[in-house]
Symmetry: C2
Subunit: 120 residues, 2 copies
């Protein structure tokens, strides 16, 4: 079974995660055939390993981790591969893949331009 | 003259700003009648004050600051209003307004869901 992890930075303020919760709800509403989980790099749970473990316990065999970040800096270039490698070691029977950050996608950037056009 | 500031977090890695540079280029290509600038909260320049100053020198009178953040945590709830208040004090002749973060917009969230659907 396939699964998606929406991977965000995390923050001290619990309200920071609201858009991530909404993303998860949207996925469940639109793509209920693919399991989904959230994970955070720091300051917030679940961690990536906790999220992978939870999805594996629900039957996931192929998990794609999608970084919900704009820019690709040290977090995505250094910390994220380390976390991903640890998960691959811990769950060798699972195919764990990843994608470019959402800020790399032209359609996501275009949606931000359209939002700006509506609110300016 | 109206202007838009795309306000991001900033990072140590210069490559982190690439999506922000692309957003600015897209705005220039699509909405050349509204001036645009980037600004960063920390670790990267220009600061919000530098960006406002630059746009004012180009003739901007009404500036909208759009937070290119997903979640609204301490940065947007505490640090950002302080920076904005300092800019309003320094440029009292300019109308400085702000909008909810891009992660609050349903169409932006939907574009992320569609990106995930394409790459999973």
């Amino acid at each position: 079974m396939k699964a998606l992890i929406l991977f965000g930075h995390g923050a001290r303020d619990a309200r920071w995660r609201e858009p991530f919760d909404r993303l998860k709800e949207k996925w469940v509403a639109q793509r209920s055939n693919v399991l989904v989980g959230l994970a955070f790099l720091e300051l917030m749970e679940p961690s990536l390993e906790m999220a992978v473990s939870s999805l594996v316990s629900k039957g996931a065999k192929e998990i794609t981790v999608l970084p919900v970040f704009f820019g690709q800096g040290g977090h995505l270039r250094n910390d994220f591969p380390t976390l991903l490698a640890a998960c691959r070691e811990k769950f060798p029977q699972i195919t764990l893949s990843t994608t470019p950050a959402v800020g790399e996608d032209e359609a996501v950037l275009q949606s931000i331009i359209e939002y700006a056009t509506r609110v300016i």
